[in-house]
């Protein structure tokens, strides 16, 4: 299998899902694509050197994406920054409180530290346990629990503040 075929297969198997994880981490489409591209290339080269693919390819790629996100900011500082602007508010339709709360939550998620965000995305978007997250991130489970708690606390407070500041 040549490079194009191998990369195409990797992308077809896991591309959309990885891009969604990347987007949850970065809140930026360009940055998500950049992140996943980089991780795919790293994994592909690693697999080629070792002569075999990892058993659970998606988990392996996801780990690469998350680690890439956490560790390599120096290469793409600019594409990782997310906007502080709140999404546009819905004017009618759903109960206003729920809509605004979710918009605020999403905005505040984008302001968390990248470690907190990685933990929350893995916990609530990827449904991993604290133990699985700790293994993926190579840190202690207590650290994961602490990051998750602090992240949730910050979400609660900051989202409430944003809602209170928004003109009704």
């Amino acid at each position: 299998m040549d490079l194009d075929d191998a990369l195409t297969e990797l992308v077809e198997q896991s591309g959309d899902r990885l891009l969604r994880v990347g987007y949850q981490l970065t809140h930026d489409a360009s940055a998500a694509q950049d992140l996943v591209q980089e991780a795919l290339m790293r994994v592909y080269v690693s697999a080629r050197r070792r002569g075999r693919q990892p058993d659970d390819l998606y988990a392996y790629l996801r780990r690469a994406v998350v680690n890439e996100y956490v560790r390599t900011r120096r290469l793409r500082r600019s594409t990782e920054v997310v906007t502080n602007a709140l999404p546009e508010r819905a004017s009618t339709g759903d109960p206003a409180g729920v809509v605004v709360d979710r918009a605020a939550l999403w905005a505040v998620l984008g302001t968390l530290s990248r470690r907190q965000r990685a933990v929350l995305v893995l916990r609530y978007y990827e449904d991993l346990t604290h133990g699985e997250i700790a293994a993926l991130l190579d840190c202690r489970e207590a650290t994961v629990r602490s990051l998750a708690k602090r992240g949730l606390d910050q979400l609660r407070v900051s989202a409430a503040e944003r809602v209170a500041e928004e003109p009704r």
Binding site: L7, S30, Q37, L40, T79, L147, L152, L155, R156
Partner: protein, 338 residues
Amino acid sequence: MTDFEDEVRRVMVEHDDEAPREVDLLRGLERRRPDRRRWYAVAVAAAVALVVSVVWAVGPGEEDQQVVTAPPSPLSCPETYVGEAPWVPSKPAGDADRLVPQEAPDSALVCAYAGTNTAKVQSGWALSGQWSLTGGLDALAEELTWQPRKLPDQEILCTLVGGRQTNYLIGLTYDGQTIWVTATDEPNGCVGTSNGDFESSSTVGRDVTAAFKSRVWPEPRSLSCDSGSGRLGQETEMVPAGSTRLLICDWDPHEIRTGYASLVDALNELPTKQSTRGCSSSPAESAQTYKLVFGYPVGPPVALYIAEGCFPEVDNLSLQSERADSIRPIIDQLLAAN
């Protein structure tokens, strides 16, 4: 799972359809070659220009509540940004040892020239908006005067994400003297800041965009693990003198205010070379990384990255050193003592 945690989960899922698609990924990967030397540190070709949060010219009245504390600038913006960024209409008189003087200017005019970094012609862009800043001139001076100097022939590895680019000219007046500074806001953060003589590889484009939008230069950010785009002096030693606070950013940030002189000394004793802002490793999935953020009473912090197993292992964005062996034990001692 609490109701709040459920809500977090729902919010994440609601944004699924904003993620890029597989086809975009394939297009980008077609332009990659894994056998390049230092393959993961070279440019990432993203073929599709996607939405990047660049603020374009803002219409009058959007920030009318700002209190005017700075006078309008007597300068006027050039109608076109003549050269490729970084370009300024005129160089400052004499040799510049800093990007701007260490004092607040009398006035500041911000001129915006909007385009895209994928345009065939990267020069001659037309003026798209201009404002005199009404405040924050002290903060402007503090940020710009501490920008690090780009080292001669320093080559910095950049991503190649396509997107909107705004070149700015900032016209500063000082008791009759004028200094033009150019800065660029673009997706890769790779276009430096310059006054035509003193060039910095550090980018302040995003702050200029914020200033352009609000007409006030943003206040310095508090020290955090996300801090650190560069500080004057980091091009000659890893940690310039005068640091008063240290953040060790591992999985948890640890703040240290005293007793880290031995770490500074050890870092400044490392053999150094010009930084490319990239490093090479076997693609181990999780090399241990630290970010050290050194804060100062005035001016921006210095961020220093240590990535064990990714060589060069130490990088302050201007200088790199090959190995961090002598540094890790000191960091461990500091963490244990704090």
